[in-house]
């Protein structure tokens, strides 16, 4: 149980930092709403629902990227990651806590974004919501892992999207499929499988990312 106590303490710290600094969530909210406004005016009138559904996933992915890019900023600024790495807790707890915090920010942004999308484009079904939830888990698991890798490099702002976007293609495939397919079950299963596989991979290998 101490593992989950460590995860709880670290995630609480990340939420507290965001509450104080307000660096990430307002930027994500502004970005996703502005993106929908741009899409609303750039899509030709009477465009298909299929096109709009695709744009929803583009917006979610890039909004997440914005949050992921800031995930390790507090640790980078004061090199606090050294302090966390030295602590006797399992190092994967750092990844899990950061993923949970990023998931909370992304979820909060989507609580606003999805109704805005429905307002501008079309209504959102339960399958799409389920797809968004499953996709968020995969995005945050993989993105946090890659964010920790990128933060150690000088080209961190460039590296994160370069590493993340190719790995997010299956999420887009699953998400769009869940949104537009007649029977979204297999796409949701695909997203769940992605979450499990990549989640386990990130959990098991995070230690090697933050140590030499």
């Amino acid at each position: 149980m101490t593992y989950f106590a460590d995860v709880g303490a670290l995630a609480r710290k990340d939420l507290l930092l965001e509450l104080r600094a307000r660096d990430t969530l307002p930027a994500m909210l502004l970005f996703v709403v502005a993106t929908f406004v741009v899409f609303h005016f750039s899509l030709p009138a009477h465009s298909s629902q299929l096109a709009a559904s695709g744009l929803l996933w583009v917006a979610i992915l890039f909004t997440a990227l914005l949050g992921l890019g800031r995930a390790f900023v507090p640790e980078r600024e004061q090199r606090v990651l050294d302090g966390l790495v030295l602590a006797p807790c399992d190092r994967s707890a750092i990844w899990l806590a950061k993923s949970i915090a990023t998931l909370a920010f992304l979820g909060a942004a989507e609580l606003v974004a999805l109704p805005v999308f429905a307002l501008f484009f079309h209504g959102i079904g339960a399958a799409t919501v389920a797809g968004v939830v499953l996709a968020d888990i995969g995005i945050c698991a993989v993105g946090t892992f890659l964010g920790a890798m990128a933060v150690a490099t000088r080209a961190r702002d460039l590296l994160l999207p370069l590493l993340f976007l190719p790995l997010a293609i299956p999420i887009v495939v699953g998400g769009v499929g869940a949104s537009v397919a007649g029977s979204p079950g297999r796409y949701l299963a695909f997203l769940a499988l992605y979450d499990v596989l990549f989640g386990l991979l990130c959990w098991a290998t995070f230690e090697y990312v933050v140590t030499e």
Binding site: T2, A5, D6, A9, L10, K13, L16, L17, R20, A21, P74, E77, Q78, R79, V80, D82, G83, L84, V85, L86, A87, P88, C89, E212
Partner: protein, 194 residues
């Protein structure tokens, strides 16, 4: 507690540490000196377990939980208060009677009155004192201190002197400094890096 044989460290093509031999017994107080760029920080990071040597052998007979590492940076979150920072580390290190221990350290390092203030509002010296609280919080067996007197005013330096004197002989201390005279009375051995 520390045994190093021909330890070296490279970052790419750049060699930052070469052929260091060091034996630090349990309870010893070892002082590392040397000019800027001589590899003091790298050696201390190796001993703290934050890096691995590129060559040679290094054995540190202390688990992660028993190492207290003071870096150039304070390793605390600027947007959190002193209390919140120490509470986080106290939880991660599973410090028994955490709140009492934190309170005692904050009082000793004269930070009790500002414990609810965010670290971003602290002076460099106050932040260094908080960093020392962080290092001492879990009562580590091995203290690895990288230029601990940096930014401390006279009162802060005297507090650190008293703390180190109290720990002398009980804990193993590896300290790098540009002012070896400051810890000369406590030092049991010295390593000069070129």
């Amino acid at each position: 507690m520390i045994r190093a044989r021909k330890v070296g460290k490279r970052f790419g093509d750049k060699r930052v540490l070469r052929g260091v031999d060091l034996d630090v017994a349990r309870g010893a107080f070892a002082v590392v000196t040397g000019p800027n760029g001589s590899g003091k920080t790298t050696l201390l990071r190796l001993c703290a377990g934050l890096a691995v040597p590129s060559e040679g052998e290094l054995e540190v007979d202390a688990p992660r939980a028993a190492v207290g590492y003071l870096a150039h940076e304070p390793l605390v979150y600027r947007e959190l208060t002193a209390l919140e920072n120490l509470d986080l580390y106290g939880r991660l290190y599973r410090v028994p009677e955490r709140r009492e221990r934190i309170g005692m350290l904050l009082e000793r390092f004269c930070l009790w009155d500002v414990r609810h203030d965010r670290v971003v509002s602290y002076s460099r010296g106050m932040t260094q004192r908080l960093a020392l609280c962080r290092v001492l919080l879990h009562e580590p067996e091995l203290l690895v201190l990288d230029e601990p007197y940096t930014a401390l005013d006279t009162a802060g330096a005297e507090l650190l002197d008293a703390q180190l004197a109290e720990l002398h002989g009980e804990r193993t201390v590896l300290v790098s400094t540009h002012d070896p005279d400051r810890v000369a009375q406590l030092a049991t051995q010295q390593l000069a890096l070129a």
